[in-house]
Each structure stands twice: as structure tokens, then as C-alpha cells.
């Protein structure tokens, strides 16, 4: 299925990708490389460009500017080679409604030489979906489970999950989805996973991409994201700080006596610099992904560099 040449290629390589819908910038100069074996989480508010990015990866959209390569291939130019290595679950999976689940499995299997029917049946059993039930009679959650099974059963090299949690109940989300993702990654394959549930992304992702209005706000490993974002409360106003000597300040909030600053950088170095400037740290908090997302989305200071 895979040539030796393309196997060595990055699962995803995007260079300066831009996309406009009318006057709206859906994606603006997005560049990223995704290594094999990663769980790559994409977060962003509604309309941030998550689904548009994923559709470019699938070849459903052609890049207006820049380039998209999947395993070294352009997904629009070589759809068969690329799509045969991708498993995709959309937010609301649309499947042929008149087929039964087992017919759908058989049908989908015919597109993939690597389809593992035993595994597919195991997943269907695990998801407790009746194989004789028609797709149109399935609930939203059941459709999502079947969609997840279809995306997974050919053991794709790249699994794209676009808001998979929206249709899944908490049990499936917490246990099964995470387990599947870990299994995929343990086998050296790659998962790209978009969600608005930040706790979920924080739990399963190795790497985080944060999008806002088509711009990349942040792209870094999850460990770095969580360990390098800090919230300090200091006894100075923001204007009294010499910010040039500090790592990038993402957001600040002063009340006249104290200032809350969200900073991206090494904690000890920040503390040392604050001390050097005569600032006393009144309190410190390690930021959660939710804090980081809110801070980055409302970013006041021009530090929106892509940290990669």
C-alpha cells in the first residue's frame, strides 16, 4: 500500500496554506509539520478553521495558496493514494442511510485492501451497535460510533477525527475514543483530532494546534504548552513592567495595584526577571488548557508567533 519513498515522508506537511471563502479568511498562512506517531490536537473557536484545515488534508479543498502534502503527496492530485491511508470521521458522519451496519462494513471494506473485518466487528460489538440495524435507524451517537469504526477498521496511517466527541456520549468519549487513539499511536500511526472539548484534547494529545480566525495562535507539544504557560499575580501595574526582558506576555489585567500576567516561557527565568525588576509575585498558577485557550484567544500583546 505504501511505497518506501512515501513511507519516509511526514504524515502531514503544510506550507503557507491560505484559504478564503468570499471575503472571509478561513485559513491564513498556516504552516505545520506533523510527525508520525503523534496525536495532534486542533482546538479553536467555531469558525476558527479547524474543519477547513482537515478538508484540505483530505483533498476536499484545493489549496488556494501554499501547499498540502500527505505522506509527501498532494491529496488533490493523488486522491487514491492519499485517501487509502486516511481514516476520517466527520462531525456528523453521513453514511448511506439505506444500508444496514453490516452491509456498510462490507461495502466500505471493498475500498481498502487493508481492511480488518475482525477488528471492525470487534469495534461494532464494543460499541454495542446492532449490525442488522439500518443506518437511518441509528441514533446520532450510534452513527458516530459506526463512523469511528469505519474510519478505523482499515488501520489507516493517518486518522482524522473532526469533532468526534460531538456525537459520542461521555462513556465512549472518555474510555473508548481515548483507547482507540492510544492504540493507533502505539502502532506508530498518526491521529489528528479536532475538538472544542479542551479537557479531552489535553488528555489525549501529544501536540497542540490552536487556531483562531484562520491564524495559528499556538503550535507546540502538549507538555510544552502546559509547562510553559504561567499565570502570575504581581504587585505592579503592567505599565511599570519592563516587558522587553520578559518572555512573551500573552495577556495582562491590571487593577491599579496588582497585575495578572499570563506568560509563555521558563518559569524560573520569569520569576528571576520579575524579581530583578522589583516585582513581588503575590500568587502563581499553572495554567490549564482552558486558561491558555481563553488567554490566547483574547491575546492583547503581539506575541502570536508560531512556536514550533
Amino acid at each position: 500500500m505504501t511505497s518506501s519513498n512515501s513511507t519516509t515522508q511526514l504524515p502531514v506537511s503544510i506550507e503557507s496554506l491560505s484559504r478564503q471563502f468570499g471575503n472571509k479568511n478561513a485559513l491564513n498562512n498556516v504552516s505545520l509539520n506533523i510527525q508520525a506517531g503523534q496525536v495532534f490536537g486542533i482546538v479553536g473557536e467555531n469558525g476558527a478553521g479547524k474543519t477547513t484545515l482537515i478538508k484540505h488534508l483530505l483533498g476536499l479543498y484545493k489549496a488556494q495558496q501554499g501547499s498540502v502534502k500527505i505522506f509527501g503527496l498532494d491529496p488533490v492530485e493523488s486522491p487514491e493514494q492519499v485517501l487509502s491511508r486516511i481514516g476520517y470521521l466527520s462531525e456528523e458522519p453521513d453514511m448511506p442511510a439505506w444500508m444496514t451496519v453490516s452491509e456498510l462494513l462490507n461495502y466500505t471494506a471493498s475500498f481498502y485492501p487493508s481492511w480488518d473485518m475482525t477488528y471492525a466487528n470487534e469495534l461494532i460489538d464494543m460499541f454495542e451497535v446492532s449490525p442488522n440495524k439500518k443506518v437511518k435507524d441509528l441514533s446520532k451517537g450510534q452513527k458516530a460510533r459506526v463512523g469511528l469504526c469505519l474510519a478505523q477498521a482499515h488501520r489507516p496511517d493517518l486518522l482524522l477525527l473532526d469533532e468526534p466527541s460531538s456525537g459520542l456520549d461521555p462513556n465512549v468519549r472518555n474510555d473508548i475514543l481515548a483507547a482507540i487513539i492510544r492504540t493507533v499511536v502505539d502502532e506508530g500511526r498518526t491521529v489528528i483530532f479536532s475538538s472544542h472539548l479542551l479537557e479531552e484534547v489535553e488528555r489525549v494529545s501529544d501536540h497542540l494546534l490552536m487556531l483562531s480566525h484562520g491564524h495559528v495562535l499556538l503550535s507546540d507539544s502538549m507538555d510544552n504548552v502546559l509547562t510553559q504557560h504561567h499565570r502570575f499575580v504581581i504587585n505592579k501595574t503592567f505599565n511599570e513592567l519592563t516587558t522587553q526582558n520578559l518572555p512573551p506576555i500573552i495577556r495582562s489585567d491590571s487593577n491599579g495595584k496588582e497585575c495578572v500576567i499570563d506568560v509563555f516561557g521558563d518559569k524560573q527565568a520569569i520569576e528571576a526577571e520579575l524579581a530583578a525588576q522589583g516585582s513581588k509575585v503575590l500568587s502563581y498558577k499553572s495554567m490549564t488548557l482552558n486558561d491558555i485557550f481563553v488567554a490566547r484567544s483574547k491575546q492583547q500583546h503581539p506575541t502570536a508567533e508560531t512556536m514550533q
Binding site: 483533498g59 439505506w98 475500498f111
Partner: protein, 538 residues
């Protein structure tokens, strides 16, 4: 307007295949020349030449427009159509060339066969040939109307037989009309019954195959897989499944069987004593089946995995399948379906010839049954049943056409109402006449409807589309004059046909020309709008 899309489409249609189009054109000119030279040796061919030229041109127009329509349909109804399926399939040339080549082969074969078995005068040959031609084109027309709804594809079977049979009755009958009307009608009613049974069986087979877990499911799946595996390349598993699910194999295969069987029955019942008529009807059957299978092939080629609203489903959009391979697989299957139809025809022909000597007794039995009943109005009732079946099929077909053009159910109601009114009017007028004379006017009326309807449809399409897409200012400006012209032309043609009908032949040729021209015009009207809507992609 998505100028990039238009450019790419034009490039694909005009330039990529220009060499093959030129070759095809040269081939056709050569063929015509050969025909003209051959006239010295085969005087009966002289009249054929004109028909062949016209047929070739109109067929080309038809199939190109059919292809264009199919492609535009694919690209119209979904703003998120996958970029990788945007490019037109390489099989454009196949789509255009295959039916033309098969049509050519058939015409050559047919004319040779005709001349060999029916050494009759030139006028008769021309007449009969024209009738077969119009039958085939009528089949094409009806089948093309049924694009988009597979169920209506089944329902449209009766109307095909209606057209063929009425044409046979009215124009090829050499005996006094009253002498043959009873056996024709009896045969026709039997034929309709068989056809409906065939369509019903096929529908149930599909239904069972999808729903049930019974033996019938296994049988129907096994049988269909046998056909599909035979028709497609073994290694193309994905394509095989794709084509199978789209083509609804039983949707056309069983009606084809039923049509063949019923027409053979017709032949046996009526013309068993006349070998020439048997052959004539069988040839007609051959012609119809080829068209049927050809159009079934186009049905495959046209359809794309869409939901009811004609939008591309991500399920298919994200499968490892390019439009090129998909189209090629479909076309291969369509081409092979023609071969299959021919094999069915040949088998049935042999059977009917073998059985011909036994059927005079059957014919007598039917006639004695009618005489025993002694109900003189039976013919009127049968005719009424025929009209109702035709009406049903016609309405269903028109619904399919409007849905496939617009995906707009409001249009269905308008067209349905129009057909109901028109057909009731036709029937009301016809019923006032003597039963032995109203069949011919009915055909004229029916033909009139055939011409008016595309005109009205074009008007509706244009009106709705230009209202929906107000950004298309030039089209909106043109809307009223274009509508007026279409309406006036439709009325003019109707007037000529109804009141000043010079000859049956003129009427038939007008019918062909008007139908095909309008058929060709519709997709061209819809194309820019279709493309304009699709501005988010590519």
C-alpha cells in the same frame, strides 16, 4: 461565476478530446462517403444516408449534452464537492464515443440485416427504419427523463412499451385496422402485465436484497454479485461495490428481461403467421434493448454518490476513488450491458423463432376468449388502462427530471398538475372519437406533449434558477425573452403538428429534432448557473 471551473470544463470538453473528436468526425464523413458510394450497389441505402447523418449528429448532440448535464449535475448541487473529483473524467471521450460507435455498429448491422431479410422497396425500408429510429429515441428520451430516481426508471418501462406498441399498431400495420386492433390490444394488455410483474419482481428483489435476511436476500445478492463480478474487473473491489450499489442492477436488468419477454409475446401472439413481421418486431426489440441498456449505462455514468438533495456525501468523498476510475468502471459496465442485452435478445429471438409455429393456437385462444366475453367496450377499457399507465409513468418521469434538474419539489407539483391537465384533456378529446380512429390522434397528442413538456420544463428551470441566483444578471435580463421564445416555439411546433401535419414522417422527424434539441439545450442553460453556484471550491 467560477471562471476557473468554466475554463477547466471547456478545456476538458473542447481541447483534451479534440483529436478524438476530429477522428470521430473524419470517421463519420468517411462512413457517409462509403454509404454514398455504396448506393450504386445498394440502391436501398440512399435514403438511409440522410437518416444516418441526422442520427449521427443528433446522437452526438444528445450524448454530449447528456454528458455535460451529468457533469454539471455533479458539480451543481454541492458547494463542497471534493476538489479531487472536480476534474472531468478522462472518460469523456468514452462517454461520447462508445454509444456512437455502438450505434454505428448497430445501424450498419441492422441495415444489412434488414436488406437481407426484407428485400422490399425503398420507401418501405425508409419508413420502417425511421420508425425504429423514433422508437429508440423515444426510449432514450423517456429513460433520460428518469435520471435521478431509480424507481421511476422501473416505472418508465411501460411507457417505453406504450410508445413502441402504439407506433407499431399505427404505422406498420398493413392489414385493415379493425382486424388487428383486438389482438393487438389483447397482446398489449398481456405485455403490460408481464412488464409490471417484471418491474415489481425487480423492485422486490432490490428491496429484499437491502432489507431482508431471508433466502431471497442471499439469492438476489449472489445473483447480482455474479453479474457485477462478471461485468467488472475482478481487482476493482471498491469500484465493483460502488457500481453495484449505484447501478441497482436489478433495476434495469429485470425490466429488460420483462420488456424482451413481453415484446416477444406480442410478436408471437399477433404475427406468428408472418415470419417477416416476427423478424421486424424482433429487430425493433433489439433496437430498443440496446437503447435501454445504453441509457442504463448513462444512468450509471451520471449518478454519483449523493444524498437526496444531490449533495456529495463525505462518506464517498473521502473514499480512495477518483472520478476517472469511477467513470471508467461505469462506462465499461454500460458497454458490457449492451453486450448482455444483445445476448438476451439473441436468446429470446431463438426461442421465439422456435416457438413461432406453436403460437397460432394461442392467438386463436385469445381471440375466442374475447369473443366469448362479447364486451365491445373492452378495447376502450384496455386503451384507458394503457393511458393511465402511461400517465403514471410520465408523471413519475417528469418528477424525476425536475428533481434531478433542480432538486426542487415545488416544481414537481407544477409539472404534475400540467401533465394531469394535459393528459385529461387529451383523453377527454380522444374518448369522443370512434375507437378505431382515436388512437392515431392520441399519438399525435402524445407527441405534442413530448414537445411541449421540455419547453415548459426549460421555462421553469430558467425561471427558477435565475430567480435563485440573482447574481447572474445577464441571465435574469434574458429570462423573459428566452421564456417567450421557448414558449412561442413550443406553441408553433404544436400548431404545426396538430393542424398541419403533412405526413407521419415529417411529424416523426420534427419530434426527434425538437426533443433532442431541447434536451441538448437544457443542460447548456443550466451549466453556467450550476458552475456559478459552485464557487467555494477549486
Amino acid at each position: 461565476m467560477n471562471t476557473r471551473m468554466i475554463r477547466s470544463l471547456l478545456w476538458e470538453i473542447v481541447f483534451r478530446d479534440k483529436l478524438r473528436f476530429l477522428l470521430l468526425l473524419a470517421g463519420s464523413l468517411l462512413a457517409v462517403t462509403v454509404f454514398n458510394v455504396g448506393v450504386d450497389y445498394f440502391p436501398n441505402l440512399s435514403e438511409f444516408t440522410h437518416f444516418l447523418i441526422g442520427f449521427y449528429f443528433l446522437s452526438g448532440l444528445y450524448f454530449v449534452s447528456a454528458f455535460s448535464y451529468a457533469q454539471f449535475n455533479q458539480q451543481t448541487f454541492e458547494s463542497e464537492f471534493p476538489a479531487h473529483l472536480h476534474r472531468l473524467p478522462l472518460s469523456t471521450r468514452m462517454l461520447v464515443a462508445l454509444p456512437l460507435i455502438s450505434g454505428w455498429l448497430f445501424l450498419f448491422g441492422y441495415s444489412e440485416l434488414w436488406l437481407a431479410i426484407l428485400p422490399t422497396d425503398e420507401a418501405t425500408v425508409t419508413n420502417h427504419f425511421s420508425l425504429l429510429l423514433v422508437c429508440g429515441i423515444a426510449v432514450s428520451w423517456f429513460q433520460s427523463l428518469s435520471w435521478g430516481l431509480n424507481r421511476s426508471f422501473l416505472v418508465s418501462g411501460p411507457i417505453l412499451v406504450t410508445v413502441i406498441t402504439l407506433t407499431v399498431v399505427c404505422f406498420t400495420n398493413t392489414k385493415p385496422f379493425s382486424d388487428t386492433l383486438i389482438p393487438y390490444s389483447v397482446a398489449y394488455s398481456g405485455l403490460i402485465v408481464i412488464l409490471i410483474i417484471g418491474c415489481g419482481v425487480s423492485y422486490l428483489a432490490v428491496k429484499q436484497a437491502r432489507q431482508g435476511s431471508s433466502l431471497s436476500k442471499k439469492l438476489s445478492f449472489s445473483l447480482s454479485r455474479f453479474f457485477v463480478r462478471t461485468l467488472t474487473q475482478p481487482h476493482q473491489d471498491g469500484l465493483t461495490a460502488q457500481v453495484w450499489y449505484e447501478s441497482r442492477l436489478f433495476g434495469w436488468m429485470l425490466p429488460a428481461f420483462a420488456t424482451a419477454a413481453s415484446i416477444v409475446m406480442l410478436v408471437l401472439l399477433i404475427n406468428a403467421t408472418d415470419p417477416q413481421n416476427i423478424l421486424q418486431a424482433i429487430i425493433m426489440l433489439c433496437f430498443s434493448l440496446i437503447y435501454l441498456s445504453g441509457i442504463a449505462g448513462f444512468n450509471f455514468a451520471r449518478s454519483h454518490p449523493t444524498n437526496g438533495d444531490f449533495s456529495m456525501m463525505s462518506f464517498w468523498a473521502t473514499r480512495p476513488l477518483s472520478s476517472v476510475k469511477l467513470a471508467n468502471a461505469k462506462l465499461l459496465m454500460a458497454f458490457k450491458s449492451i453486450v448482455y442485452s444483445l445476448s438476451i435478445f439473441i436468446g429470446l429471438m431463438i426461442l421465439s423463432l422456435l416457438a413461432a409455429s406453436e403460437t397460432s393456437a394461442v392467438n386463436q385462444l385469445w381471440q375466442s376468449t374475447i369473443n366469448t366475453i362479447g364486451w365491445t367496450d373492452a378495447i376502450s377499457v384496455i386503451a384507458l388502462a394503457i393511458i393511465l399507465v402511461s400517465l403514471l409513468a410520465w408523471i413519475t418521469c417528469s418528477l424525476a427530471m425536475s428533481v434531478s434538474l433542480l432538486g426542487n419539489k415545488k416544481i414537481n407539483r407544477i409539472i404534475t398538475m400540467m401533465f394531469v391537465v394535459v393528459m385529461i384533456g387529451v383523453f377527454g378529446i380522444s374518448i369522443q372519437w370512434n375507437v378505431t380512429t382515436w388512437l392515431k390522434p392520441l399519438i399525435l397528442q402524445f407527441g405534442t406533449v413530448l414537445i411541449i413538456v421540455p419547453g415548459i420544463s426549460a421555462m421553469i428551470v430558467l425561471a427558477v434558477l435565475s430567480d435563485h441566483f440573482k447574481s447572474l444578471a445577464p441571465l435574469s435580463v434574458l429570462k423573459k425573452p428566452v421564456l417567450s421564445i421557448i414558449f412561442l416555439l413550443s406553441g408553433l411546433i404544436t400548431f404545426i403538428l396538430v393542424l398541419n401535419l403533412p405526413t407521419a414522417m415529417t411529424y416523426l422527424l420534427l419530434l426527434i429534432a425538437a426533443t433532442l434539441t431541447l434536451l441538448a439545450a437544457l443542460p447548456l442553460l443550466a451549466a453556467p448557473i450550476a458552475l456559478a453556484k459552485n464557487r467555494h471550491v477549486a
